[in-house]
């Protein structure tokens, strides 16, 4: 069965420092992977997705993620955190042939001034 594990429930960084949000996946097939962000009282917004075209995926707002098959990981990074990045981040996997997303438990990012 497909699943994703987000290794940290909370991450705190100082403004201007790098962000690393970790996600490991489990899939019998070549997975499709996504990162979504949820700001308070807002819907889930797509940050980026892995389409198998390139292992390094660039998304919106300066975020990127690298698909590493050998490590079954899809970690989300950003070189320099901004206060507006404070939100909850979800790693998601979808497998071919199904209609559903499978979510990780989420990582709440806090950015300190």
């Amino acid at each position: 069965a497909q699943s994703v594990t987000q290794l940290d429930s909370h991450v705190s960084v100082s403004e201007g420092t790098p962000v690393l949000l970790r996600c490991n996946y489990s899939s019998s097939y070549s997975p499709s992977l996504f990162w979504y962000v949820q700001h308070p009282n807002k819907g889930l917004q797509l940050l980026l997705k892995y389409t198998s075209a390139a292992t390094l995926v660039k998304g919106i707002n300066g975020f990127e993620a690298e698909f590493k098959k050998s490590e079954t990981s899809f970690h989300l990074t950003k070189p320099s955190a901004h206060m507006s990045d404070a939100a909850e981040y979800f790693c998601v996997v979808i497998s071919p042939g199904t209609y559903k997303y499978i979510f990780g438990t989420g990582t709440r990012l806090k950015v300190l001034a």
């Binding site: 499709s32 979504y36 889930l44 797509l46 209609y99 559903k100 997303y101």
Partner: protein, 116 residues
């Protein structure tokens, strides 16, 4: 930019009452979904819907739940007789095509349901 909208944003109901959660998907999308997130837990898939039929449903989606597209714009989730454990945030999502590989689902802001 087109968005998925959901109403109400918050709903409080008594146990045993029926509730209807409403969603307006993006206008040219054909596939619709409901997910829920119980406080402190994962976002879980409930159901997908296409061409006026359920495409897939989870084990959570029992006989107390139903979905409907009553007109060309709304997509609703009905809980017939609410239970305390139905308290959760409910998200609606839509896609242009089936959620095969690479397809992006667009989510609404959610409805927070509290059952007392």
């Amino acid at each position: 930019e087109p968005e998925v909208t959901q109403t109400p944003s918050h709903q409080v109901t008594q146990m045993g009452q029926e509730v209807i959660l409403r969603c307006v998907p993006i206008s040219n999308h054909l596939y619709f979904y409901w997910y829920r997130q119980i406080l402190g837990q994962k976002v879980e898939f409930l159901v997908s819907f296409y061409n006026n039929e359920i495409s897939e449903k989870s084990e959570i989606f029992d006989d107390q739940f139903s979905v409907e597209r009553p007109d060309g714009s709304n997509f609703t989730l009905k809980i017939r007789s609410t239970k305390l454990e139905d308290s959760a945030m409910y998200f609606c999502a839509s896609t242009k095509r089936a959620a095969r590989q690479q397809e992006t689902q667009y989510f609404g802001p959610g409805t927070r349901l509290l059952v007392l």
